[in-house]
Amino acid sequence: MSLKNQDLEQIAYLARINIDKDKFPSLKKELESILELVAKMDSVNTESVVPMSHPLDLSQPLRKDKVTEKDDRKNLQKNAPSIKAGLFMVPKVIEVED
């Protein structure tokens, strides 16, 4: 399975990780070797096999509809990079094309 530069750009964008173009060749090689490892699954017939999401074959436990958490803003915002008036500040979010 060979990756194109465009594939790498796309994956990097989807994952929101900036990668310098000069790192592309070595990264491509590494990722391709992993995909080669993974390709071993291709030869196995899994048509009628039920996928396994969990080791457990159990049902989701349920919680009663009760408010159990109090305002802990001060504590929870201690690690925030930028706070103003209780809000998490980020560079402006632009929704519409100019």
């Binding site: 796309q10 964008y13 989807l14 929101r16 999401s53 969990h54 457990l56 159990l58 049902s59 989701q60 436990p61 349920l62 919680r63 009663k64 509809d65 009760k66 408010v67 159990t68 958490e69 305002d71 802990d72 803003r73 929870l76 915002q77 103003k84 008036a85 209780g86 809000l87 998490f88 500040m89 980020v90 560079p91 402006k92 979010v93 632009i94 929704e95 519409v96 094309e97």
Partner: protein, 478 residues
């Protein structure tokens, strides 16, 4: 007839009225100070895990049952991956395969009384994101995650809607159902019910669907109608000039009454769904579903049928009175007092509605309650007052909050039904109107109405009209 046919599908997000969030025990109350209702789970702190709120399942099942849909068991949650500052984990826990509700139909009623069945593709559970605030911060946005984790039910319709009017009727129906079932207050202005409209056009008669656009940010019934109308006009213009419609998401601007495209990269919408590994498949037993069914209130459609059957109301009246649970409760209370459903229906849809609309009030804010209105109508029923006088009394009741009997007493408005009393007035009138009497006797029968009017006037409207008619007729025969 236009050569273009409109195809509309609506995605409605309904905020479920639970006390706590779908995956955490933080409160869902509206309007609190920023980030005071966002616990560590809602913030997506390292190491946190979601735990499912039982109530959201019950609410979703209620909805599913009300539209005769399938309730899928087990139902499974999935991660929908994308980056946005109001989405703390960088993924939204939603549902893809095996949504809790699948299929189903609901019926809409249009202004001309015609009905249309609209199919529902699915309804699934997911968590809401937080809010971004853009004003007041230079070059920055402030993120409030209070809303993050509020439970949503996303209801997706098949593209069965054909006009903006149908779209609004569908929305109103959904609104009515969710309020009836008490699963949401459906307040579009506050955001507890949101609508995205998918609009496409195709040549009339064609079986293929055209390219559709998705319009977001429509927060009232009126705006949904306008936004769709705008989109249709915009797309027609494009298609008629030979161009193609771009598949994109657009935002509706209510001030300029136009839609504008949202910023996005080509492959930005690859959500890379996969089953949520932190939540196990949810098994919904027959008993669980039955327990939900047993607690469901009567639905507006059943109520409508009952009103026609029990109260012998017309289809139209029954529909109007059954749509809003508060209105239908009011109506039934009035019927209990007045014993005349038709009279009750007329007064509620007539006088009462007029007064409410004039002051922009909802039925819950009415200045004449169901007991007093019921009593007023029962006074018409027992002939204490005439219908005409009742209208005057109603106005007085509205403004003074007094009971009908109080006003009848105070103003001496009791209908005169005593024959001898009425005869006295008739005699007076005929005496005072000799020339008309002559004319009547010589054939001008139309003057009968004049005499009736004069008698009513002389009695200040209190004479019972039927009796006046009867006695006058007899008197004039002599």
């Amino acid at each position: 007839m236009s050569e273009w046919e409109t195809v509309i599908g609506l995605e409605v997000h309904v905020q479920l009225a639970t006390k706590s969030k779908i995956f955490s025990g933080a409160s869902t109350l509206f309007g609190s100070s920023p980030n005071t209702q966002a616990c560590n789970i809602d913030l997506g702190m390292p190491g946190v895990l979601p735990v499912l709120n039982e109530k959201v399942l019950k609410m979703a099942i209620k909805f599913g049952l009300s539209i005769n849909a399938n309730i899928n068991s087990p139902t499974q949650f999935a991660r929908k991956n994308y980056f946005y500052p109001d989405l703390p984990k960088g993924y939204q826990i939603s549902q893809l395969d095996n949504p809790i509700v699948e299929g189903g139909v609901l019926e809409i009623t249009l202004k001309d009384g015609s009905k249309k069945k609209i199919r529902i593709t699915r309804a699934h559970l997911e968590e809401d994101a937080g809010k971004s605030l853009h004003d007041d911060f230079e070059g920055l946005s402030g993120i409030d995650l209070n809303r993050a984790g509020t439970p949503l039910l996303e209801i997706v319709s098949e593209p069965d809607l054909s006009t903006p009017e149908e779209a609004v009727a569908y929305l109103k129906k959904i609104h009515s159902i969710i309020r009836y079932l008490e699963i949401s207050d459906g307040n579009m202005a506050e955001g507890s019910m949101r609508c995205d409209a998918n609009v496409s056009l195709r040549k009339r008669g064609s079986k293929e669907l055209g390219t559709r656009t998705e319009t977001k940010n429509v927060n009232s019934f009126k705006f949904v109608e306008k936004a769709i109308q705008h989109e249709i006009r915009r797309q027609i213009k494009i298609l008629e000039s030979g161009e193609r419609v771009t598949q994109e998401t657009r935002l509706y601007d209510s001030q300029l009454d136009e839609t504008r495209p949202m910023r996005s990269k080509e492959y930005a919408n690859d959500y890379r769904y996969f089953p949520e590994p932190d939540l196990l498949p949810v098994v919904l037993s027959e008993d669980f579903i039955k327990s939900v069914k047993d607690l469901m209130p009567e639905l507006s459609e059943e109520k409508e049928k009952r009103f026609v059957k029990e109260y012998k109301l017309s289809d139209y009246d029954a529909n109007v009175l059954s749509v809003d649970p508060n209105l239908s409760n009011f109506f039934e209370e009035v019927v209990v007092r007045s014993r005349n459903p038709k009279l009750a229906a007329n007064w509620i849809m007539g006088e009462l509605s007029a007064f409410l609309n004039k002051e922009n009030l909802s039925i819950l804010e009415t200045k004449v309650d169901s007991i007093n209105l019921g009593n007023l109508l029962s006074r018409i029923e027992d002939s204490t007052i005439s219908g005409k006088i009742a209208k005057e009394i109603f106005e007085e009741m509205w403004n003074s909050k007094k009971s009908p009997d109080e006003i009848i007493e105070e103003k001496g408005l009791k209908q005169v039904t005593d024959s001898s009393e009425i005869e006295k007035v008739i005699n007076q009138v005929l005496e005072q109107n000799q020339s008309q009497l002559e004319q009547y006797k010589s054939g001008k029968v139309k003057l009968f109405g004049f005499f009736v009017g004069q008698v009513m006037k002389a009695s200040k409207g209190k004479a019972n009209p039927e009796q006046v008619n009867k006695l006058l007729e007899e008197r004039l025969k002599e």
